[in-house]
Assembly symmetry: none
Homo-oligomer: 130 residues x 4
DNA sequence: GTGGTCTAGACCACC
DNA sequence: GTGGTCTAGACCACA
């Protein structure tokens, strides 16, 4: 996994796990990889994983069974969707529209860009169809 | 001026100056406030302004006449637009589309949101018409 | 390390690191000293090192892994060479030729001076043969 | 006159006057422009000219007759030549050779560059023939 | 007056 | 431990 350096790694990892949950690669009550396993496979410091999991647990997306591991909460998908939707509507969308205005990009331009993106780059949105 | 916590103050100041340039409140070859003046008026340390100005100068948006002050470069608007456009096309737009897919927001939904925003919140985009 | 008075310390440090890279004392992906370490060993303020490193990172010569340190970029040598070559061809060389003309130094004179220098002072250019 | 921003303007002006002396456009005991005249014609602050003249006077290149103006010293040419030659031999030449080594530019390369420069850009060295 | 640089020391997020 | 940012205050060259 490649990390962007403008966002905290632990948040990128947490986000990635959310994605896997949304794509149903991790189902409810599934055990997710241990801190050590994931640290090894992602080549990051175990503390970083600890932080990711703590973040996800605090949001109620995963829960911990002591001595056993972390598991996907039963309403994980709903929580993740709600979190993302809230952030999108309250922050990302207005910022995006503001930026469009600044760059004088019309809704029509956006529509074209959208179609262009979804023709050439089918892989990125493949999980939409799953 | 209010500063957000999640972005460096010197970048927020630089960005704000870019906005003023785009809105033509600062024209080319206009002298912008001196480091000390702006530091006082924004209630930040002069060094923070120095950093903002160094950043803008490095991008070619402003230039320095020694002992006199900083001035808006003649092609400042083009540079600012290019910088923002590049960032938008390479990063913000793909991320936005990805998020749309994740949240199952269609282009049609987006269109509705767009129109809703631009009815209720005309002030925010008023400078578009200038 | 001794610093000249007529050039900013942070630039002298940056330049010195470039030299070390060119001489392959720092190879690609090598971790360079931490800000604090180098500040102690060069007896300068850590902020000064921060500036040197920010400068080098901005040029793409080094990159940062958060919480770990700075590393030499994989094409650092090319970038350093390009930067120095550009400056040489566009500025230093013309100035030098102009000065030669002014002092009425011919190409033949220069050749003699060159040979004289490279006999008596072999140490300075020893890394040329490496 | 265009000023480079990497060198103090007063030094650039002083240097320019030295050039004029070397080209014999200012002969010995000629009165050079008054501080005010030159400040107006170069569009700089009069204080800057004062500094240039002070610098030249301190070097013995010009002298002042109170209430009348500044005049070119009788051995101005010798002094200018000596100053420039000293600086060239002790500092610029070694630095230049060092840079050549660093950039792996041979004497042969230099020769070619020299000829190329002196074919295409005859104006710059025109005063050599005067 | 202008900006450029440096020091000293602090706080923060992150690994 | 790492770097990133900010403040406070100082000194300097320059216009």
């Amino acid at each position: 996994m490649q990390f962007k350096d403008n966002e905290a790694i632990y948040l990128q990892i947490a986000d990635h796990i959310c994605d896997l949950i949304l794509r149903k690669e991790f189902s409810k009550d599934t055990r997710i990889p241990s801190v050590r396993e994931l640290a090894v496979s992602l080549v990051v410091n175990p503390n970083t994983i600890v932080r990711s999991y703590a973040y996800l647990e605090e949001k109620g997306i995963i829960y911990n069974q002591r001595g056993i591991g972390y598991f996907v909460a039963k309403d994980a998908i709903d929580i993740v969707m709600k979190l993302k939707m809230d952030q999108f509507m309250s922050s990302e969308l207005p910022q995006f529209f503001k930026k469009m205005a600044l760059l004088k990009i019309s809704l029509k331009d956006l529509k074209e860009l959208y179609h262009k993106t979804h023709q050439t780059n089918g892989k990125e949105i493949s999980y939409e169809a799953q």
